[in-house]
């Protein structure tokens, strides 16, 4: 019996040593192919292509009322028309950040109106009148950026095919003219492995 003791102890130690999670840092830009669901690579691909298209189009012109500054844009969330719960705010956030970094566009903090209102109220009470910021001086946006993401899913046996289409458009708020639009298409296939653990 004692002949088995050492191997058993070694196995137990190995088992205990392997029982915890292994954590490491990865490359955020690396291609993610865990499955066919919407993932980080898709988000980055959409943002990169949309920003490149919008910048290359040169369709967003400064507001005549404020010619010295880049045009002000409001962005709304992408409508999610897929069968997955996708954080579409992450997509618009990434696009907005890239556009702001380009210096050719400014963005309105439309989604922060509630917090801004709180600040106006708070500053009206607490702040020095010389530096107090009050409501009514926001700059009106010239364009609004919105869009949608939709998908078509097909599945037969082991194969799953997912097609995503992301459409984005910029509309001149005053004239209601759509001055720019583009879409990005992504197709992903996944095949169930034949053998696995």
């Amino acid at each position: 019996m004692h002949k088995l003791t050492l191997p058993l102890l070694a196995l137990a130690a190995l088992g205990l040593g392997c029982s915890g999670p292994v954590t490491s840092y990865g490359n955020a830009q690396a291609t993610e192919t865990v499955n066919a669901d919407f993932g980080s690579t898709d988000l980055q691909m959409i943002a990169d292509k949309m920003v490149a298209s919008l910048m290359a189009s040169n369709r967003l012109q400064p507001d005549p009322a404020d010619p010295g500054n880049p045009p002000l844009v409001s962005v709304t969330r992408l409508r999610n028309e897929t069968s997955e719960h996708i954080d579409t705010k992450s997509i618009t956030d990434k696009i907005r950040t890239a556009l702001i970094k380009s210096g050719k566009v400014r963005f309105s903090g439309l989604e922060m109106q509630g917090e801004l209102a709180d600040q106006y109220k708070l500053q009206g009470i607490m702040a020095d009148s010389a530096t107090q910021k009050a409501a009514g001086k926001q700059i009106g946006s010239k364009y609004i950026l919105n869009g949608s993401i939709s998908s078509i899913v097909k599945q037969t046996g082991k194969v799953k095919d997912v097609y995503y289409k992301i459409t984005l458009q910029a509309t001149d708020i005053e004239s209601a003219v759509i001055v720019w639009a583009d879409d990005v298409e992504i197709r992903k296939d996944s095949v169930r492995r034949l053998f696995g653990a």
């Binding site: 897929t82 719960h85 169930r192």
Partner: protein, 561 residues
Amino acid sequence: MGLARCRWEGLPRIALCLLVPALGAALAPPARADHPREVRRALDGLRDGNLRRAEQAFLKTAGRPGADQLLAQYELGSLRQMAGQFQASLELFRSADAVARGYEGRAVLSAGATGRGAGALLINDRVQRYEGSGCDKVLARTLNSLNYLMLGDLESARVELRKAEEYQRLERERSRREVAGPARVRPDDPAVAAAYGRMFDSVRNLRNSVENAFTCYLTGQVFLMRGEEGLNDAMVAIQRAYELAPQAPAVRTAYLEIARRQGGPAWDLAQARLGRDGAPAGPGGAPAVPVGGALVVCYQSGLAPVPEQVKLTLPVGERLYSLAFPIYNGPGPAQPPLELRAAAGRGAADVWRTAPVLDTRALAAKALQERLPGILTRGLLGAIAKGAVQKESEDRYGPVAGFLTGVAGYVLTSADRRAWLSLPAEIQVAQGELAPGRQTVQLRGPDWTGAVDLDIAPGSRTFLLVRAFPGYRRIDARTFLAAVSPPARPELPTATPELPPAGAPGLVPVAPGLAPVAPGLVPVAPGPPPVAPPPAASGPPAVPPGPTGTDPAARTPAILQ
């Protein structure tokens, strides 16, 4: 189980053959008690209306990977919804979805699955992982869309219903590829054939276990609220609902409502189709466009069926083989409709009744019918495997060992009766229009009454979610205000034959609205919804106990808004 060749000279073989099943029957508890302990606990809790007690049966299983994790999360998700904890419920359903998708993506041949399969042969099917049927997945998505709906998140509700439609579409495609035939799955044994024959007869009219009219009806409602952009999707869904449940007045009402909004040919086609099917399609004139708000009632009544077990001992040659199969005993009694009456106004005299659009008992029986070939094959292979083990035991260690192995095999032979127990037996719907203003809607169930105060605005849509079974009931409501005025199309009639005439006061209340920021409908700012905090890391939040008093009035559920 196989009974070994009898070598005891003083004991006739036939006596031993009779002794084994008798001993097995003596060891086996009666049918209901034969369920695992946690299932008995859950059933006791549900039958007492004590959700906390029912929940306790699933908490541990839901929190750790295991054969029953998915089922336990489904159970907890529906229990939380029953308790009005919509946020906690949707998080559980999302967790269950992640588990189910992990199962769907696994390798076709895996060591784990092979091991579980071998274990199932030697023990029983309960060793197998519960991976959820297509029916389960569609219902989980549908119930989760109700969670989002009650929380005012229409976009996420649509996501859930699109996924449910994906599952239904896959099932439709699979059904087209396969030639279904109940006769080919019936075993030869007359008793089993008779038992399953009754079950099959009860589901003969169902296409499959996945498609159901409630999911389609709800899809139509949710896409309808998207405004003009959602009308096509709403029409596709409601037409499918009509194909599945043409008898439900609410489905016809929704069909006509969507057709009216689409106008032109769509309206003509809807009128013609309903007329051809003999359904009342509404007055031929041109009633005014609704001036009130729509009320959609989703009534979940009763509890899902609990599968029972058929256990047979079949003599084959010199051995006895025992087989066990799950079975649903009959379709069950029809659930009485819920009656709704507007307490004031011209609609006061009118009573609406819900009509069934989903029968989980039938769907469960259909799902079992679809799985039966595999169950029978595994059962037969398991019996052969146990017989081989018994023979080996007898050959090596003597007849007593063989006999004991046979007894053990008989006792272990058990049907896989795992099922989603907290689902309703039926889902019934009603739909109508209520006049603007504060309305009190009286509800009358089979043995209870209740009332809801609703504030109705023109163009609004209110969802009333009613869950009731003996010992428990709860009513929740959510109103979505019209962000834009409904388009005036006086040339198109509105036809809701079973409802009060347009303009009559009805049911619907609504709080002062939110700013119209998007087309379609926007959720009314909720009152203090009884939503539980999200599950803690150590486990999901507790479900409050169900009503325990004996006074029916005291058991009246929370009424919101």
